[in-house]
Every structure is written in C-alpha cells, then in structure tokens.
C-alpha cells in the first residue's frame, strides 16, 4: 500500500511519497523518505520490494552523481530516465531482477521545462504530465484527469495533490502515515510543508 504521486506544472514537478515503511501488515516507521535526489534538478521516488528499492535507487543516484562530478554538468531528467530504464531493463532479464517502481521528476537545467517519467519494474518508461504507482493509480488518476492543467502554479499543484491524498485517506484500508512532498524547480529540490494531520471522514 505504498503511495507514489507526481504532478508537473508550469515551472515545477511535484513528487510525493507515503511516509509509512511497512513489512507485511506492520508499520515499522512513520517517517520514511522514499525519495533520492539524483542531481540538482532531478528527483526519484521509489516503491517495491524492501531491499531492492534502496539498493537500486542509491546505485543510480551514485552513478548520476559520478557523471556530474566527471563532466562538471548534470544529465537532464530525460537522459537520466533513459539511463535508469536501461539499468532496470538489463536487470529484468538477469537471475534476480530488481522489483522497483519509480517516478522520476525534474526540471531541465537548460530549458527549465518540467518533466515527469513513469517507470515500472518491467522497465516500461512513459513521459507523463502526472502519474501514480500502485493502488494510488486507481484513486488518483481520475482526479488528476479532471483537475490537472499543464500550466498550473505550484500552489495549485499542491491543492490538487491534497485532493489526491484526501481521497486516498478516504478509500485506502491501511493508514499510509501522510506524505513527504518535494518540489523540483529551476532552483533545485525543495521540501514542501504538507499537512498530514488533516482528518478525512469516510463518505
């Protein structure tokens, strides 16, 4: 029941991930951060099998940072998305494939265009204006279909995100302990204050 959400707007990409670290039916931690920053303008959120998620995302994070240090320039979000897809695709046909679903969001360091990539454990890559992973897809994509606009502001983006999390609180059978929310803009990655304590009554 891990939740990953991503929304792009006029000049930003929002990435949100649930705070609950779960093992079976037990919540081990209520302040988990399921995101890693690949470079100044790119962020990934990940969910999937326990060990695989951290191992894979920190592997690509290390390689993205190595590239930035060697070349004194960052890869664009699109370039990183295709690199990550390549790594996941070769893992898919190995003896023990990584079982990780990812959302990769960022802002192009040159054009300042925001972008978001949806990537599942089969390494199917899709550039999208908004995305979700897991059960959240069934609840949130229809809300985003109706309320998303390609040139909305960050404040509007956070409002739509809140509509999504409200619906998840209303419908998901297990508490996901709120969301860590981060925004990528041309100035880099920024933590967003998000009210997790809001109580949503069931319909």
């Amino acid at each position: 029941m891990e939740v990953l959400l991503g929304i792009t707007g006029k000049d930003f990409t929002l990435i949100a991930a649930s705070k609950a670290a779960m093992r079976g039916a037990t919540i081990l931690k209520a302040s988990d951060d399921k995101t890693r920053q690949l470079n100044k303008h790119t962020l990934v959120a990940f969910a999937g099998e326990a060990g695989d998620t951290i191992q894979f995302s920190e592997y690509i994070q290390a390689n993205a940072q190595l590239y930035s240090m060697r070349n004194e320039s960052d890869l664009s979000p699109s370039a990183l998305a295709h690199y990550v897809r390549g790594e996941l695709a070769s893992s898919l046909r190995s003896r023990k494939p990584y079982n990780v679903n990812l959302l990769l969001g960022g802002v192009d360091p040159i054009t300042h265009k925001p972008s978001l990539f949806w990537l599942d454990y089969l390494a199917a890559l899709a550039p999208v204006p908004y995305a979700a992973h897991g059960y959240a897809q069934y609840y949130c994509l229809s809300i985003l279909d109706k309320h998303h606009h390609p040139d909305m502001t960050l404040v509007q983006g956070i409002k739509v995100l809140e509509m999504c999390t409200d619906e998840l609180k209303r419908r998901l059978p297990i508490d996901f302990k709120g969301m860590t929310v981060k925004a990528v803009t041309k100035d880099g990655v920024r933590d967003i204050e998000f009210n997790d304590d809001k109580v949503v009554k069931c319909a």
Binding site: R85, G86, A89, L92, R93, W118, D120, L122, A123, A124, L125, A126, P127, V128, A131, Q137, Y138, L141
Partner: protein, 205 residues
C-alpha cells in the same frame, strides 16, 4: 490476459499502395485495463525504413533502442542508409538470437526499396520468422480487428491520399473494438523522397 504480449496493449498496421507504403500505430500504454499514458508511439524511423513494434512496452523500448544502435553502426560502416529488405533480415536474425528468451514484441517493417522504389512491408513473430505480404501486415492486441478491417477496406494500387484514408479508417475502427488499444494514432505515408507523418486524435475513451 497475463500474456506478456497483452499487458500493455497496442496496435500497428502497414499497407502497400501504388509507389508508396503506409504504417500506423496507436498511442496507448496501459497496465491491463488501466491506461497509464496516451502518448506512447510504437513506430520508429531509421533512415528511410520504418519499424512498428507492439507487445510488452519494456521490450518495445529495448528493441527500438537496439535497432537504432545497429542501424547507426550499419550506416557508419556502409556509408549509406539500410534498405528495408536488409533491415528485415537484421530484425529476423536479431530476434532469433534470443530464441529461448525472446523479446515479447511483434515487429512490422515498412519502406520503399532505395533502388527500384518498390514498396516493401513485412511482419515477424517474436522469434524472427518473417511474414512477407503484398497487401498489409497487422500486429498487436487489435490484430484480429485489423485483419477484418484491412480485408474489407484495402484494394491494390491506392495512391498516397487514398492509402492514408484507408489505413487510418482501418486502424481507428479496429482499435475502437479493442479495450487495450486506441487513445490516438500516428500515421506515416512514405513516398519517394517524401514522408508525411500525421497525428490522429481518435476517440479518447
């Protein structure tokens, strides 16, 4: 339903006309019944040759990247573009290399022979068996619907404009009867020294 060929959905069709060929695909990417993206083209251009790939989305990307690499290497070695029939044999042998762990794709190749200008289309199964055709090739989750539409709409020696109309109506009608395909289409009309790419909106439900 859990066959790798029908997890993500998608459709592709190629047709022969008079001194021209057409190839078209839908734009849907889904996970079973859930649509994830309506901007996932399945036709790739390598010089003068066109490759359509339906099937498992991860393999569509992997195989299209692989052939981009192979065709670029061919162009550097030979200092000319690859011919459609040569490319078809490259696709066949590359797929058969993975005989016992195949890519889950059904490729379609379309193009005009650079020497004679004759239209060339063919299709493949996932392990590289070539299916040559004088009329049309279909692939994807809407292949049965596409066979029906092509059988009734296609006729020999269609000009570029009529061929565009024929292939577009065949694809749009076919994907409307398939839950896993649709959400817009790309149509390429290939003539001598001219390629026209059109984006069809299609039904968005």
């Amino acid at each position: 339903m859990s066959s790798p060929f029908s997890i993500n959905g998608g459709a592709c069709v190629a047709m022969v006309g008079k001194d021209c060929v057409a190839i078209a695909c839908d734009l849907r990417l889904g996970l079973q019944a859930l649509t994830v993206s309506n901007n996932f083209p399945k036709i790739f251009q390598y010089g003068d040759v066109f490759l359509g790939l339906t099937g498992l989305a991860t393999d569509v990307s992997t195989v299209s990247d692989l052939f981009r690499y192979k065709v670029n290497m061919y162009r550097l070695r030979e200092e000319r573009n690859i011919a459609p029939s040569t490319f078809a044999n490259l696709v066949s042998s590359s797929l058969y290399e993975r005989r016992f762990g195949p890519y889950f794709v059904s490729p379609v190749v379309a193009g005009l022979d650079p020497k004679s200008g004759r239209p060339f289309i063919c299709g493949f199964d996932s392990i590289g068996c070539i299916d040559f055709a004088k009329d049309f090739i279909v692939s994807g989750t809407a292949s049965e619907q596409l066979f029906g539409m092509c059988e009734s709409l296609w006729e020999p020696d269609l000009g570029p404009d009529d061929l565009f109309e024929t292939i577009s109506q065949a694809l749009l009608s076919a994907v409307d009867r398939d839950a896993l395909s649709g959400w817009g289409a790309h149509v390429y009309i290939v003539e001598k020294d001219k390629v026209t790419k059109r984006l069809l909106k299609g039904r968005q439900d």
